[in-house]
Symmetry: C2
Subunit: 246 residues, 2 copies
């Protein structure tokens, strides 16, 4: 099993900012659904600095390239910083991202298709219900990368160590797609992200996706302002592999 060398590496993270009163429920959502919602850490209420072990001098109000601001589940603004939206009780949640394991796939000669064709990874909202947690519930979102069946065990081995970045695939192939409620084996109709190109002799392989908790929070239609990184504009942390891998 190949594990990336244990050094400090820039890693994308999903960012969600909530009122502190929802922090315990969000933490429980992640604890109960760790594959789609791998919680890397949370900030203290009102303190915008990322915990030191995840990144040094990282201010979640300014250090993502772009932010979306939501109210009652609706996008109300996109901003380059959220200094004026920040509240005394704001809490930031940092959720792992599959980009962390893609370097291992590339190093293993199994470059994800969407990187080869310079697109965003295709993502699907599944019919798999999350384990409910307080005010939060919803369905798992997955990302999809096509591989030949002969490569699947190697793909599983390469991504398995990244336990706080979704780890090994949740399902694959036609049976996996059916179990997830996805009827798009060729990657042509994703719910989010880019259209893929599943070649002859390949099958879709599905991983838990960090869009899951964002969608859950949006769908919960909280009356208070909720913020997140704008799609594709994630927060970059400086994390040791130990923080991401088993």
């Amino acid at each position: 099993m190949t594990v990336a060398p244990r050094t400090l590496t820039p890693r994308d993270a999903n960012l969600i900012i909530l009122p502190a009163k929802y922090a315990a429920d969000f933490r429980a959502l992640c604890a109960r659904n760790p594959v789609p919602c791998p919680l890397l850490g949370m900030t203290e209420p009102g303190n915008p600095m990322v915990p030191e072990h995840l990144a040094k001098d990282c201010d979640i109000r300014t250090d993502a390239p772009a932010y979306n601001v939501y109210k009652e589940g609706k996008l109300v603004a996109t901003k380059s910083d959220i200094l004026d939206e920040w509240q005394d009780d704001s809490v930031g949640a940092l959720v792992g991202c599959s980009f962390s394991f893609e370097a291992a796939l590339i190093a293993g000669g199994l470059t994800p298709r969407q990187i080869e064709i310079s697109r965003n990874v295709p993502m699907y909202k599944t019919m798999v219900p999350l384990a409910a947690a307080g005010v939060f519930t919803g369905h798992m979102v997955v990302s999809m990368r096509p591989y030949p069946p002969s490569a699947i065990e190697r793909v599983r081995d390469l991504t398995r160590p990244f336990v706080r970045a979704h780890g090994e695939p949740v399902a694959w192939g036609a049976a996996g797609a059916a179990a997830l409620g996805i009827d798009d084996l060729k990657g042509q109709r994703p719910d989010f992200g880019g259209v893929s190109a599943v070649h002859e002799g390949e099958v879709p392989v599905y991983w838990g996706c960090g869009v899951t908790p964002q969608l859950v929070v949006m769908d919960s239609k909280l009356p208070e302002v909720v913020m997140g990184h704008a799609p594709g504009h994630m927060l970059i942390l400086d994390m040791r592999d130990e923080e991401v891998c088993a």
Copy 2:
């Protein structure tokens, strides 16, 4: 939120005994699916003693009331001890049980129906796929207890702290049953356990169930001998509430 007092309490645990070579995959199965598979602990290969913090002087070969022995997923024997089946590389996995939170429901005036009618809890195999982990995959099993909709938030609050005993319900009501793929709202056709009695004005409430990992291991049809407690004859641990609750 009511939490049971933090004292040493006898607690039922599900027991699964595997060859050591499957221990890492089983541990990953539990880490990736903690709601149906809350791993309390594992024994060292070849050492039949339960870790001290879970129970003192507890030998997993002799201290459950009855054992089932499986080969290639088939039941081959039921025994009162497994001294003669034990191998140098046998590993025991201890998985939390919903019995742990039922005392809290009773104390809260919300006695589970199956206790009132002296039956086993009804259990269902759902269509919710588990996140695959090495050789192990399968579907979530849930237990069901009926409650009036007005009691559900209280039921959720009472069981939420028991994070290593399935915690709060995963889903409830007609929508929850549909999401899980269960078409038996009245509790008359469970896949395992006893028939329930869902009264007028009540809805089914579903929790993750520790039968899940047992079913996964049986369904994986490992060629080696696998053992478990016989249904209803669990291992009793002496666990502090801290070991079970958040």
